[in-house]
Subunit: 341 residues, 4 copies
């Protein structure tokens, strides 16, 4: 089958033929890919940022945001059947460890992360497990929902954690209205009555943000910290959801958080530098966020099916993976790029 | 009256005569001081660290950890009477703003912080307000409990926030077993069944920690991050309570926090430097902590009266304030130094 | 001034002249009433249901849902001035007890409840306190918002407590779409993405419910428990908000709650009868709800000002109080009846 | 093998020979029983109380509180091996449904409850599943810990849910100091600093309660509601943990709960009868409690291994099951009766 494979860091992935994955364990599932999202993390992987944490064996197939149809199942699989339309939670988990049993899939002691530590979904077929499959209505087109599998649940997970902080009268600043941010805005509008202030460099992205539910928008032109403070009587935002967290956005994000507030780190790439006196004297929190849980993905699909979260996507054939990655890097994708094999 | 007053930064405070404070508003309370704690924050104040945040008019009286007897009350005071033994919440609050009404005294929009932004309690008398007074059993000696007013509730506040994270089977690392830390250890033992691992440079402090409930101790000799990881099967502590957060302790503290765990900053003075990738990929949190609430002070007094929290103190006459400050700075105080006017 | 006064139980209140209230304490506030809501609790008061709990001295003025303009203030009042437009939290609280300091106004150890235990607001003037006043935009008409002061925050309080249980994919059954229920539906729609199923005897009320955000409606005709179960694959609703809780609604409400779910009691008058085996074997909860907090009232005003909660009201002159009470009792008020002095 | 089997309601179970259970699915586990607890629920089963909810096919083997050694495992079992010492979570769960993935094992949509709806552990061998096995130190004697498998986690689960309500200064009333209650008292003492007031008819049980951590005891002689109120300045207990909930204890339990407090139902058999006005006017909650989760059982084993929870047990040979059931019914068991095959 065709697959988008990384042979080395600081170089483009290559599209080449590899054998199809096969079932070996009783809970294995092979999925025929219908849509594979292209994520800023793919760029970070190419730069080697994830090597230390994940140390995947090169070459391998990237792509961690996948939906499609069940192609083959192991003997012990009871929750899906061949032909089912599915969206895939990005990390097949063990179901036995404390984290899995506590509803914290992301901290499973045995999980894999296809596309980061093993072969991913920018290919015709993907090997995953029964626990990762969310069954969808058969009429759903995988390419229309694939971006919910990672961009979606990551944004949703952060918003879900922030909900208790975002009662009426609060302000939530969203930094970055791209692939994740444009979903986060919709989740905020669906789950809270907070005031949503969106910060982005790109005026086009801000227009999209307004259409999706932003109450105010701020151009990230160097005066944006002051602008957010001004919108909040000098205090700062109760919650800042930072979908960028690199190139200085991380320190700006903390700076625009009000005393007693919480700065949610979702993007990455930069380095946060904060005097502990600033943390203590204002009692601010810095909250780490990684991909959401299986249940959160299921919840997000409910929002999507109700039309409360809609994706802005641009599709590319699988063979145009390089173009899609380039467009993302160049800031030329509004919403999310999706590869369709 | 005699008072310990700061005339300039980077110099010792001076003991001199000033007029006694007087009642002007209906909710004012003047307290005769029975004990005033000496805190690392007093050293930080003298270094000018708090000038930007609090900009007190110099000279002024320091001392933000106070207990004594009610000396005079305003016309509208209903909760205490002249002669009552009281411990004082450090920040007289308005009682009308959202934060006060939500049980978040520390974020009161109108609060004062005597000893930081106005005249404090290292003196014979202190002006505070009705809302700051916690009435005590008349037999209580103020000098025996004063350290609970700031060191105590700060440590208690952090522990109280951590309790939901510290179920049986977890590990809590306590960094720093000094004035705050030795109270924090006792609060952990009283409120949780977590394993308590205490980290300190000073072997004497570690001995005290063991006597107070530590399950393991680790000498902070440069191998302590590795030592905490080893004690936790390589994972790190579920919660780290950092009562130091300066001179590198802050980055060590984050490093010894397990994936999904929370690093509580309570001490201050250093600068935290963390790649956002490290925050995101492990989903760790950095939690700011400031002084606790009035209700938390009342709860802590329950623990103290039940003998579950006992203070290790060393008393000095008010006129020996300089000596007390020196001893603290030199690491020669086990527990807390208390000035007795 | 004119006032609506109850001279005995099981009889109509009388409209008569009484002296205007006056300031005696430093935190007292006298408000000129612009709108006073008529509540099912007024009917229950007339029936004597509240006598045992509140034992008001008869005769007294009823009316516990009030808005107007500040007429006179005590010497210590700092948060409002004469002429300010205000909506009144129904229970003036002490601000000093643990409950007040913990954000649980409803459990204040010293609170009054004008209209239940002392003279209320169905009159030209009302005596309240500074802590009860929420300042509004001067352009607000008190009669337009008065119903938020009790019906509003009671409904909002219950919804606010239920929010963490109502993630996407859940179902919330609202029993009773009257004065409180029609606000509750809007609060649910503003704060959650749950599916809202509304149950009422009255088809007109169900039409209003649909217009306000109900996803499904069920006529309470004796088959409604089965209908709610059918809508939820036989399981029952995750949360039931029972704004009726009398005449059998209370046992139906518990019966339509799914295993692991919560039945919120907000209305009253009936008697719940449940085998403890049914509570234990399904691990269902029964949650008591009383009026909300000052902060919740302030939050609700944010929703109202944003147009997310609108009131359906019918105004009557103060002298027509008897007619308004009759109409409410006869089920002839859609939304809320408001007396305008 | 020998097994204790129920052939009909309102009659004694019979000890007879039945075939040993065998492995059929890949995740099946057969355990050789080392200890099987005797529970009040077994008496309720014999009375037919659980027939409507569980409708087990008669005859069947009772016993839902089991520990032993792994005897045989299915092909897909990875977490335990033949010979391992294990304690068994009472409900083998699916691991795939929302409840399992959210850490709410008790609401698993596919769970079995051996001993209630299928063959249980009062026998030489028991069929369970991989997900139900908690591996123990090989030196543990199953008969010493078996009672933690149901009495233990049920008590622990209720205490764990109550912890956030039980800060210093609160009072927790424990009703019933028998098999569950004597564990609940120890869990309260290990996890909170609340004041523990224990209510029981039996002075012997109260003596044991004092030894285990009760701060006060009250004889349930008809004046106990008043006694608890007197101990709490007339207010009632913040939390009531009712391990009895039959024969009137249920209404007494609610009556001794303070305004704003929570009444936890854990025992069962009686019928709660409460006017909704009493629920609403005081905003009290009634909290259902069933058996705890796998993670909670693991946490409880940590407490047990640390010596913070110790069991008071009385062992009987398997063939003396009738005697054990009789002793329990007659109130002649302090702590828990355990059958040892």
């Amino acid at each position: 089958m065709r697959a988008v494979r990384l042979h080395g860091y600081h170089q483009q992935p290559v599209i080449e033929d590899v054998p199809e994955p096969t079932i070996s364990g009783p809970l294995d599932v092979v999925v025929r890919i219908g849509g594979a999202g292209v994520c800023r993390t793919d760029l970070h992987i190419m730069e080697g940022q994830w090597d230390a944490a994940m140390h995947p064996p090169l070459p391998y197939t990237i792509g961690h945001e996948n939906a499609g149809w069940v192609h083959e199942v192991g003997a012990g699989v009871t929750n899906v059947s061949v032909g089912d339309t599915v969206i895939l939670h990005p990390t097949p988990t063990c179901g036995l460890c404390r984290a899995c049993r506590a509803g914290q899939d992301m901290h499973c002691s045995q999980s894999r992360f296809p596309g980061l530590d093993s072969d991913g979904g920018m290919a015709e077929y993907l090997l995953t497990s029964a626990r990762a499959c969310v069954k969808l209505d058969p009429s759903t087109r995988p390419q229309d929902v694939a971006a919910l599998a990672d961009a979606g649940i990551t944004a949703y997970h952060a918003v879900r954690k922030a909900v208790p902080l975002l009662y009426p009268g609060t302000t939530c600043a969203v930094v970055g209205a791209g692939g994740l941010g444009h979903i986060g805005i919709q989740c905020l509008a669906a789950l809270t009555a907070t005031r949503i202030v969106v910060v982005d460099r790109n005026p086009e992205a801000l227009k999209l943000a307004e259409a999706l539910g932003a109450d105010s928008t701020v151009v990230a032109d160097g005066t944006h910290v002051a602008a957010v403070q001004e919108l909040t009587d000098g205090a700062g935002a109760d919650v800042v959801l930072d979908f960028v967290a690199e190139q200085g956005a991380e320190n700006d994000g903390f700076a625009m958080t009000r005393p007693g507030g919480s700065y949610f780190v979702i993007g990455y790439g930069g380095t946060l530098t904060v005097p502990t006196l600033d943390i203590v004297s204002t009692e601010r929190n810095i909250i780490g966020n990684i991909v959401g849980t299986y249940n959160e993905l299921a919840e997000l699909m409910v929002l999507a099916q109700a039309g409360k979260v809609t994706l802005h996507t641009k599709t590319y054939p699988l063979d145009a993976a390089a173009e899609a990655l380039h467009d993302l890097d160049a800031g030329q994708v509004r919403g999310r790029a999706i590869l369709v094999p």
